[in-house]
Symmetry: C2
Subunit: 210 residues, 2 copies
């Protein structure tokens, strides 16, 4: 099973690597990081590089497409060749998925129109503005389109997807293999549960970025 | 604050990228992926490459050291130059940390003797055999030595460490930024909670690998 993870400059590393770590453990899975051009892509902090091993043209029809998010997604909101690739891939894919603001790219390419989908909590309004039924849920399935909330939600999404692809037992074995028994030190992972002043600080920071 | 994440061939990607995603968001943090030689390192599946931007010699005294695990750690259990670097770095570091079987490398370098520490649940016995007080906990602090359980535990470890370094509010803002509100689809993330047959299957697979 060919699984393509789209990468690009200034993506968020964990958006891509969370799903990679889960999906690469599926029996028979071949995960490939793809980009318009092969080679290293610097993530949003500039401090880490992931390597694209194939160009979009080289992997036109993966069974699973994963689109991570990150600040660099802004440059892909009206990018012809990436959108063309996504649309063509989506025509034949078994699953078309995203993590975090990756759903904005899918929506911009016209693939989520009228569908239920999610994104980073700070991006739900923008997703709604693109004609999507945007919901504040961790993982959303709408037919073959699967979207995850912010950054770390890609791990939950990939485990849920692994179960659909290979069955619950395989997904559970992967979960145990990566010892995914999360114990966050704080109740701060969602805007509903985090302290109000921290939610507001992040909203303000995002607003200042325009 | 200089944070060095040691990478090497056949490491587990999420072991490195989980802590990177959290620690790189600390104010003033500069995370560098380091290796004996710079350049791309292929992870355990061969399907993803992380790039080392600096050699060990170039970053002799980071304030924070992170040692991820993975099958490739076997080649580092008696590696002179990596052990020398770890011992020298540990002499002046503020925090020396590991994820998953990274603690076996730290222990092999003599840095965890008699200390409380953890590792991937399948590696606790081996850790104990290296003279460590190995405990099945998610994140273990023993002075400046901090160890995490398997793979995904590096996220919890890094958030706990972020709180020690920069305070609870900064750590909570990072947690909300990466929307770390985990919702695993199964109760299968630890050997205590996973179905017995899945625990046994993973034990058997590990035993067959020798």
């Amino acid at each position: 099973m060919n699984i393509a993870i789209l990468i690009y400059d200034r993506l968020t590393a964990l958006d891509a690597v969370g799903p990679y770590e889960v999906l690469s453990r599926l029996p028979g899975a071949k995960v490939t990081l793809v980009a318009e051009e092969t080679g290293p892509k610097r993530t949003d902090t500039g401090q880490l590089a992931l390597t694209a091993d194939a160009s979009l043209a080289e992997l036109a029809h993966p069974e699973v497409v994963v689109v991570p998010g990150g600040p660099g997604r802004g440059a892909l909101m009206d990018d012809g060749s990436v959108h063309d690739w996504l649309r063509a891939a989506d025509e034949r894919s078994t699953w078309t998925t995203s993590v975090c603001t990756g759903s904005l790219i899918l929506a911009a390419a016209g693939l989520l129109k009228g569908k239920r989908a999610t994104s980073h909590w700070l991006a739900l309004e923008e997703l709604r503005g693109l004609g999507v039924d945007a919901v504040p849920e961790r993982v959303v399935f709408d037919g073959k389109h699967v979207t995850a909330a912010g950054v770390s939600a890609g791990i939950d999404m990939a485990l849920a997807l692994a179960a659909r692809i290979a069955g619950d037992q395989v997904a559970q074995a992967i979960q145990l293999g990566i010892e995914y028994d999360p114990q966050p030190p704080f109740e701060a992972g969602s805007p509903e549960r985090a302290p109000v002043e921290i939610v507001e600080a992040l909203r303000a920071r995002r607003a200042s970025l325009g």
